[in-house]
């Protein structure tokens, strides 16, 4: 099952995007502000509010890391986020540039081209989901899409509440969320991460209670999962998975006898933008909930 199948068949996001784009189209093409984004997450949010960026950093890799919604072909790739092509960016004549403090060094040069809206999602203070909500509101305000933003966030709340209800019925155990680095190492997601905030909202315990960086992950040896994987824990791995990982793990008793693996509570889900915003949170919530409650899919 490819991610596209999963979401095109059903899915809140598609509907939400359609909803959000409708008024923009209705108001005429001249109404949509020209924006450029240096960050996938902010671009993702803007699209949810019905504004498709004219330029996006590393647009070429969107399909691998963000997946949904698909990026229109009209979006111009403006280069790597830390070194966007200023000439190309300027030629797109954006009215607003979306950035994060991560590319703070570029700010003054970006401001030569257009006003910059810098929104912090991942900070040492945590709460990325709350910050993503705030970012969506700020964006809505700035783009003249307050109504859409309110509507989007209300929908998001409703969707998360729906997920929480489904999760409450399915009663899954604690979850371990990982990305494989190679056949011996992984990133595990925990405190201060977007996934953590979503798990909190939908009422799932994160089995990883160890330390994390302020981006909300920690690099570990896979054996470190052993002490965290209790008898009712579910392990969720996200794509992409390097080619040699699964054959190697199949031969590791430590992995195969790990209760979640031995008892089939292991799943590989499509890629989600790890350091994303509200749309990524919803995508994660949907993928996770659909996994623990497959009958509840609508």
């Amino acid at each position: 099952m490819t991610p596209t199948d999963l979401l095109s068949r059903r899915g809140f996001l598609a509907g939400c995007a359609a909803l959000a784009t409708a008024p923009a189209l209705a108001a005429g093409p001249g109404d949509a502000p020209r924006i450029a984004s240096l960050d996938y997450g902010l671009a993702n949010t803007a699209m949810a509010l019905g504004v498709t960026p004219v330029g996006l950093a590393a647009a070429a890799h969107w399909k691998d890391w963000v997946v949904e919604p698909p990026l229109p072909r009209s979006v111009v790739d403006i280069g790597r986020d830390r070194e966007v092509n200023l000439e190309l960016l300027a030629s797109l004549r954006p009215e607003l540039i979306l950035a994060t403090p991560y590319v703070q060094a570029l700010r003054s040069r970006l401001e030569d081209i257009a006003p910059v809206l810098s929104l912090a999602i991942y900070t040492p203070d945590g709460n990325p989901l709350e910050r993503s909500y705030a970012a969506a509101r700020s964006l809505g305000e700035r783009l003249g899409r307050e109504r859409e933003a309110r509507q989007f966030l209300d929908e998001a709340d409703a969707f998360l509440a729906d997920c929480a209800a489904r999760v409450a019925r399915a009663k899954p155990g604690p979850a371990l969320l990982i990305n494989f680095m190679d056949s011996r190492h992984a990133r595990v997601y925990g405190a201060q991460g977007l996934y953590q905030d979503v798990l909190d909202r939908i009422g799932v315990t994160n089995a990883w209670d160890g330390p994390t960086t302020y981006w909300g992950f920690q690099t570990i040896g896979l054996e470190q999962l052993a002490t965290k994987a209790g008898p009712d824990t579910t392990i969720i791995a996200f794509e992409p998975i390097p080619g040699d990982v699964e054959p190697t793990l199949a031969q590791s008793p430590l992995w195969t006898q790990l209760p979640p693996i031995a008892e089939g509570r292991y799943a590989v889900l499509p890629s989600v933008l790890t350091f994303g915003t509200v749309p990524a949170a919803l995508r994660f919530a949907q993928l996770f909930t659909d996994h623990v409650d497959p009958e509840g899919r609508r």
């Binding site: 830390r82 190679d182 052993a226 080619g243």
Partner: protein, 657 residues
């Protein structure tokens, strides 16, 4: 080190094994307790002991022994106390191969990582051995070859990583050598391979012992030197490759173990063959146990290989004086009977005109927004000037300064292989920047310059201490540079594998991108380069005389120590300023002086001016390519010029002697 001499080998082994065992007990205790109780279901403590801790311990012992053996063999067959899998670029080669496979052919991993890594180390190893075979495996050529291949692989890998920064962590984990295990597959596949190779090594012990004698003697004793040498080298290479493929790059154990064995009294080759693997095994065991115990409280991911590299690379400095360097006279170039007359002012004028033309073209010509080529029209000229001019100016200034530093260093050390990049002054400057990043969250430009100057100056002082005693034997100075570059790599590896966001900034610095430079700093850099190069020109008479040797210089009335100090300070200033712009790897400081000389500019002043112009032009070209080749993505100018510079250094190496 001298304290070790009084220890007998068994005592030394015991001294290593004791603490290692104590640390290991700390790690294993819960699992051992669980082993006693009857197992019911999945007991994490028991499973971790059986499938993680014990395989990890075994892997450390086997890998350490294999690396120790590999180092011993390499040192014997190459008659070189500095030879080891790390110093010969084997690990760097494997690292590059894995990076390439991860990004472009992940399908290859269906057969596991081993074949990919093996292929990489084999190619790098054969390249290095091939380079030095032409010179009868001359110790210097060999280690220099290793350095160059290592730097080249490193530069390429950095470029790949920068362009794919989302894969950063997984690439660096492998490059930094983690020993973490989840089953017995790694130790069980590693142990038999190492055992077979070790048996062959033992069978070859006698002929290998004879290799310590000069070739003429060994041939006289009826031994085919070449066969034994290649045989021994092949075993060593295979040992290093299987370890690297299994657990990644474990730096410097292969250098430390044989060295410690020798210092502790393993005088004969047979004794070293027995003791080095043991010491290597114990060393890696100890390091890994310490890393396991300490990484808990540190709450971050610490790969063992990065730790061995951080502690092992300074050892190179201690070893430098032990390297026998035959004092050879520079080669007499008897092919040229008469001097080729060049009209020096004409050549310089042509170079200057060429540079101006290039710079103007680099500003005015570029990729249009649709990807096609376009010359700038008047309407958008102000914007373009704002973005392109600073970069072109900065690249130009950095190139000129590095080239001037190169001329000064080459003349000062009477060594045509010297340059800020090769002898590690640039690495020192970058290390200074790295320190500033650790100490201050957002260092200002002045602070960056201060730190990078301090770093470069410290390195040069160190080189003075280490190499000065030997009268700046060219090879020693170059080797001191390897040690520094290796140390720098180790630090960056440590940062990056832990997923620290600062790693990306450091990597950006090392890559030498002109992207972030604005007009004012660029103009400052330009002024600085013109001023410093002009100042350097005032030293032309010294630069002409100093290559004639200390005695001659002194008898001509030059206060040699003071003059050298002044010139070194000039070189440090030039390098520190330039490194801020184009990073430590550009190799412009090596290439430009040679190009100037090939153009017939042989005296100090014309060479200095010519090199500065050529260096500036090289960087302008590199920057132009970087801005336009992968449009709209930007490639860093420093790395691009390194991709040309490293093979250039290799060529130079082949031409020598």
């Amino acid at each position: 080190m001298s304290a070790l001499r009084s220890l007998s080998l068994p005592l030394l082994a015991l001294a290593l094994a004791g603490p290692a065992a104590a640390l290991t007990y700390l790690v294993l205790a819960p699992g051992l307790a669980a082993l006693g109780a009857p197992a019911g279901g999945f007991d994490p403590a028991r499973m971790l002991l059986l499938y993680s801790d014990l395989p990890r311990l075994t892997t450390a012992l086997v890998a350490g022994a294999a690396l120790g053996l590999s180092g011993t063999l390499l040192q014997q067959v190459l008659r070189n106390p500095l030879a080891s899998p790390t110093t010969l670029g084997l690990s760097a080669g494997a690292n590059l191969a894995l990076a390439l496979a991860t990004l472009y052919a992940p399908g290859l991993y269906m057969f596991g990582r081993d074949p990919v890594a093996l292929a990489g180390s084999l190619v790098a190893g054969l390249l290095v051995l091939g380079l030095s075979a032409r010179r009868g495996f001359s110790p210097i050529t060999l280690v220099l070859g290793g350095l160059v291949v290592g730097l080249y692989c490193g530069a390429l890998a950095s470029l790949l990583t920068l362009l794919n920064d989302r894969y950063l962590a997984s690439l660096f984990i492998w490059g930094s050598g983690s020993l973490q295990q989840q089953d017995w597959s790694v130790p069980l596949s590693l142990a038999p391979r190492v055992a077979v190779l070790a048996v062959i090594a033992v069978l070859l012990a006698r002929p290998l012992t004879l290799l310590a004698l000069p070739d003429e003697n060994t041939r006289g004793l009826g031994l085919n030197t070449a066969t034994v040498r290649w045989g021994g080298a092949a075993i060593a290479l295979a040992l290093a490759a299987v370890v690297t493929a299994a657990v990644g790059v474990i730096g410097f154990i292969g250098l430390i173990a044989p060295t410690v064995a020798r210092i502790a009294g393993a005088r004969t080759f047979a004794a070293r063959l027995a003791w080095s693997p043991l010491i290597g095994a114990l060393l890696l065991w100890f390091t890994d146990a310490a890393v396991t115990v300490l990484s808990g409280p540190l709450a971050s991911f610490v790969p063992t290989g990065a730790i061995t590299a951080v502690f092992g690379s300074p050892l190179l400095f201690l070893l430098l004086p032990r390297l026998r360097v035959v004092d050879r006279r520079p080669p007499a170039d008897r092919t040229v009977r008469t001097v080729r007359r060049v009209n020096t002012p004409l050549v310089l004028a042509a170079l200057a005109a060429g540079l101006v033309g290039l710079a103007v073209a680099a500003v005015l010509v570029g990729r249009a927004t649709d990807g096609g080529w376009d010359a700038v029209t008047a309407s958008i000229l102000p914007y373009v000037l704002d973005w392109r001019l600073p970069r072109v100016l900065a690249a130009l200034s950095a190139g000129a300064m590095l080239a001037a530093a190169g001329v000064i260093l080459q003349r000062l050390t009477a060594n045509d292989m010297a340059s800020p990049e090769v002898i590690g002054v640039s690495a020192g400057a970058t290390m200074g920047l790295a320190v500033s990043l650790v100490l201050v969250a957002a260092p200002s430009v002045a602070m960056q310059l201060g730190f990078s100057f301090t770093g470069a100056a410290l390195v040069l002082a160190l080189i003075f201490l280490v190499a000065g005693r030997s009268g700046f034997a060219p090879e020693r100075i170059v080797l001191a540079g390897i040690a520094l570059n290796a140390m720098l790599d180790a630090f960056v590896g440590l940062f990056a594998a832990a997923g620290d966001p600062r790693a990306l900034r450091l990597l950006n610095w090392m890559a030498g991108s002109t992207y972030g430079i604005e007009l004012t700093p660029a103009l400052t850099a330009f002024g600085l380069s013109v001023g410093l190069v002009a100042l350097a020109c005032l030293t032309m008479r010294w630069l002409d005389i100093l290559p004639l040797g200390t005695a001659t210089s002194q008898s001509l009335g030059i206060a040699v120590k003071r003059t050298r100090g002044l010139l070194f300070t000039a070189a440090v200033g030039l390098t520190a300023a330039a490194t801020l712009v184009v990073g430590p790897l550009s190799f412009v400081g090596l290439m430009a002086p040679h190009i100037a000389r090939e153009l017939g500019l042989k005296r100090a002043l014309p060479q200095l001016l010519g090199a500065a112009l050529c260096g500036a032009a090289l960087m302008v070209i590199a920057d132009f390519i970087g801005r336009n080749a992968h449009f709209p993505y930007q490639l860093p100018a420093g790395l691009l010029s390194a991709l040309v510079g490293a093979p250039f250094l290799m060529l130079l190496l082949l031409k020598r002697r």
